[in-house]
């Protein structure tokens, strides 16, 4: 068998790409959590009352059923759309790329319809358990308006993909995936400015703790801000957002409400979020996005060949289906990656606060206020668990204590 020069170059390129891909995975897998750290297996019954465990498990049972049904509806809707969505090309006068944008947006619209009953059911359940305060109409309107952002995002992605498909036809994924990641970098950079109802942190104690932890963790000048969410939910949360000069930590105001969380618990939250910044987890997350996106884009390109590839808008409904199915299929991997980074942030927080009791108390309270099952079934954790389980987190605090 003889290999032509072009084929040889293509094979060489593919080999280089694969090598770079493997190298990236090895680099991204690096963590500061000691590799010989063994988390003890803890019994939830030692940390939670039977009533707390029953309430959390009962709450999550419904959520699991709702989630699974929602995924079935999602796939069913997308299958239907992949089969019949092509007909909607007649609703466009926008040319190749414009029609692709329309079909992409309508695909999200169909998904929104399919998910709506499950979202409402989840809201009903959360209201029943006093987790959410949002009204049904307000939730539906918010959800509908939020779809606008999703429409813009899908337009951006489809414009990139179909733009490259115009140049490279079925090899669009080689340039398209990096371009989408580049857009992801841009969005991550500006994301702090897109979060609504954010203001400066006023509590002097929390501010002082934040400054001290920044020094300890070696990440100075990270602004800490507060997002007002108490009208919508009682659940506490915090997040690290932004890149470079836009980096910041956002605390939900439900975390700072008087009497809900102790100062040491809030300190652990701050240290955890600063830990994300210290280890560049947002960059790493983007790196993982690139790692996952490249093969996904390749498979999407392969799967849509029968409909003319993504050069043709007719392929967009099928591409949406393939993309979502692949996303669902690799979600355990993505969750494992996310949990690994969260564990690293926990470990960093323990080192910075040197307060395993505070961390244990925090995780306990997070579980009871959010009604999270502290030790969920493995399949559920694999499907949706983008953080370690509560018992694993408490176990890490215990392991840190025993290493001192």
């Amino acid at each position: 068998m003889t290999i032509r020069p072009r084929q040889g170059a293509a094979l060489l390129g593919l080999a280089a790409l694969t090598a770079a891909w493997v190298f990236a995975i090895i680099q991204l897998l690096h963590t500061s959590v000691p590799s010989n750290l063994h988390l003890p297996h803890l019994d939830p019954a030692h940390y939670f009352t039977p009533a707390q465990l029953h309430r959390a498990r009962s709450f999550e049972r419904f959520e699991r059923i709702d989630y699974l049904l929602a995924q079935v509806a999602l796939i069913a809707a997308l299958v239907g759309y992949a089969l019949r969505g092509e007909r909607l090309t007649r609703e466009s006068a926008a040319g190749r790329v414009g029609t692709g944008l329309l079909l992409g947006m309508l695909g999200l619209g169909v998904v929104w319809f399919a998910q709506l009953p499950f979202g409402v059911a989840e809201l009903w359940w959360e209201r029943r358990h006093d987790i959410s305060h949002q009204g049904y109409a307000a939730w539906i309107v918010d959800s509908f308006l939020g779809l606008g952002g999703a429409f813009l995002s899908v337009c951006l992605v489809i414009a990139i993909v179909m733009g490259f498909a115009g140049l490279l036809r079925n090899r669009w994924w080689v340039a398209g995936a990096p371009a989408i990641v580049a857009v992801g970098v841009l969005i991550a950079f500006i994301s702090p400015f897109l979060i609504p109802a954010v203001h400066r942190l006023h509590d002097p104690q929390v501010r002082a703790d934040a400054r001290r932890l920044e020094r300890v963790e070696g990440v100075p000048n990270i602004p800490v801000e507060v997002q007002d969410v108490h009208r919508l939910t009682t659940a506490p949360n915090a997040e690290s957002v932004g890149l470079g000069p836009t980096r910041r930590v956002i605390l939900w105001d439900t975390l700072l409400q008087p009497g809900r969380f102790t100062r040491s618990e809030i300190r652990v939250v701050l240290a955890h979020e600063l830990g994300h910044q210290k280890h560049q987890h947002i960059w790493k997350g983007l790196g993982w996005e690139a790692v996952f996106l490249l093969p996904i884009a390749f498979v999407v390109a392969l799967a849509t060949r029968g409909r003319g590839g993504l050069y043709s808008p007719r392929a967009v409904p099928l591409a949406l289906l393939v993309f979502v199915v692949l996303q669902l299929a690799i979600s355990p991997l993505q969750n494992a990656v996310s949990s690994r980074m969260e564990a690293e942030a926990d470990w960093t927080a323990l080192g910075a606060t040197r307060d395993p009791a505070g961390a244990t108390a925090l995780f306990h309270r997070l579980a009871t206020t959010s009604l999270a099952d502290p030790d969920p079934p493995g399949w559920w954790q694999a499907l949706v668990g983008n953080h370690p389980t509560i018992m694993d987190r408490i176990g890490m605090a215990s392991a840190w204590r025993s290493r001192r």
């Binding site: 909607l88 006068a93 947006m105 309508l106």
Partner: protein
């Protein structure tokens, strides 16, 4: 009267454009006795209308005395509004006699059989028409963006100045007012059970004149009323990418507009490349508006290409422009901007009402759609005027513009607003 137009409530006009400056100046004060009288009459109408509603509900036909009383009120109300809005020059009589005024309303002389269901729910059924009426005539709700006076009263304000200085009512404003008056009379007649025929928002039927003067900016619209329910439901969200692109393009258009202003001021016309690009922008703006407001069904392209969309704009090639008109373009555009804002209210309300109808029937009501086409045409003419694509002022008449400039354009054109 147009023999093909079938609505039982029709408006005719034999009024010219000449106006007495003296009566124009004092118009509001002169109308005071009428305003007091119509207020008193309205109290009577309130009680008669309630009685009439019960009577029609039980007998399916309004009693004759109620019918006569209410038709006289509808007619008188139209006379007075025409007088106040400067659509007509003569002082009206106080009883709303048929044929007593140059702008007149024709209604059935005898009470007609009416559908009892429509009678029973008349107030509710009338709500969409009241909304449209509020944008065309005025007196409706508020809105944050649009001028709230309604097209008729906006025109009246502008016409007051025009009549005072020129002694003539601008033809375009007069025609637009006649359309608004017709719709207002039909709404009143519907609400007061004179007829059970719904008001007709189509501006391209009588009493509109056969043809308006030639205009270098023309709008074409197909007759397709089918709408996709799915894209109708998500219409606002689907338009978001276009709105973002429109905003970005708008920045460039604004900068080019400033450049064009200097170019036209010094050379008498704008560069051809700029003219073509700005033409595309105006066309694209119209395509996006037509999509957003349900005037057309398909998702538009992003380039504003001519002939690419069912609601399209044709703009003549560049012509030399009057430098005085160029120099003061921003100020000159203000009256047209007010009219366009008022028509924007009509566009929005027609889209709002059409959204519900299209969602259920998969069709846009033709008369609402035609009202939108008219509003979009005016707005395209305004944009073209603002961006110096033409120095011809937007023409507010709903009548279609003449096809050829030489054949139909008057030697001394009337001031057209």
């Amino acid at each position: 009267m147009d023999p093909t137009y079938e609505h039982p409530v029709r408006l005719t006009s034999e009024e010219g454009l000449e106006r007495s400056r003296l009566t124009v100046f004092f118009r509001l004060l002169l109308a005071l006795p009428h305003l007091i009288w119509i207020g008193i009459w309205a109290v009577g109408v309130f009680f008669v209308a309630i009685f009439n509603w019960f009577a029609t509900l039980f007998t399916a036909r309004p009693p004759l005395f109620c019918h006569n009383f209410l038709t006289a009120f509808v007619r008188y109300s139209a006379h007075l509004t025409a007088y106040l809005s400067l659509t007509c020059n003569q002082f009206p009589d106080f009883v709303g006699r048929p044929g007593s005024y140059p702008v007149d309303v024709h209604m059935p002389e005898e009470p007609q059989m009416q559908n009892r269901w429509k009678t029973g729910f008349r107030v509710l059924l009338g709500i969409p028409a009241f909304f449209m009426d509020s944008t065309l005539v005025g007196g409706g709700g508020r809105s944050g963006y649009y001028f709230t006076g309604g097209a008729l009263w906006t025109n009246a304000f502008l016409a007051w100045w025009a009549c005072l200085f020129t002694g003539r009512m601008p033809e375009g404003l007069r025609d637009l007012n006649l359309y608004a008056l017709r719709y207002g009379a039909q709404t009143q007649a519907y609400a007061l059970l004179v007829t059970d025929r719904y008001p007709d928002a189509d501006p391209f039927v009588e009493p509109t004149v056969a043809s308006a003067p030639y205009h270098p900016v023309r709008l074409t619209a197909d007759e397709e009323m089918r709408r996709s329910r799915l894209t109708v439901f998500f219409r606002i969200l689907l338009a978001i990418p276009h709105i973002v692109w429109l905003l970005l393009w708008g920045i460039l258009a604004l900068l080019l507009g400033i450049f064009s202003w200097f170019a036209a001021l010094f050379t008498g016309q704008i560069p051809e490349g700029v003219h073509n690009l700005q033409t595309r922008y105006v066309r694209y703006y119209t395509h996006v508006s037509a999509f957003l407001w349900l005037t057309a069904n398909p998702f538009p392209g992003f380039a504003g290409a001519e002939g690419s969309y069912p609601v399209d704009v044709q703009i003549d090639p560049r012509q030399p422009q009057n430098r005085w008109k160029t120099a003061f373009r921003v100020f000159l555009a203000v009256p047209a901007l007010l009219v366009s804002s008022a028509l924007g209210g009509t566009l929005f309300v027609a889209a709002f009402l059409g959204w519900f109808v299209a969602l259920f029937t998969a069709r846009m009501p033709r008369n609402l759609r035609q009202a939108q086409v008219f509003a979009l045409r005016y707005s395209a003419q305004l944009y073209a005027y603002g961006y110096l694509l033409t120095d011809r002022y937007p023409h507010a008449s709903p009548a279609p513009p003449a096809a050829e400039p030489a054949a139909l354009e008057p030697a001394a054109p009337a001031p057209a607003v």
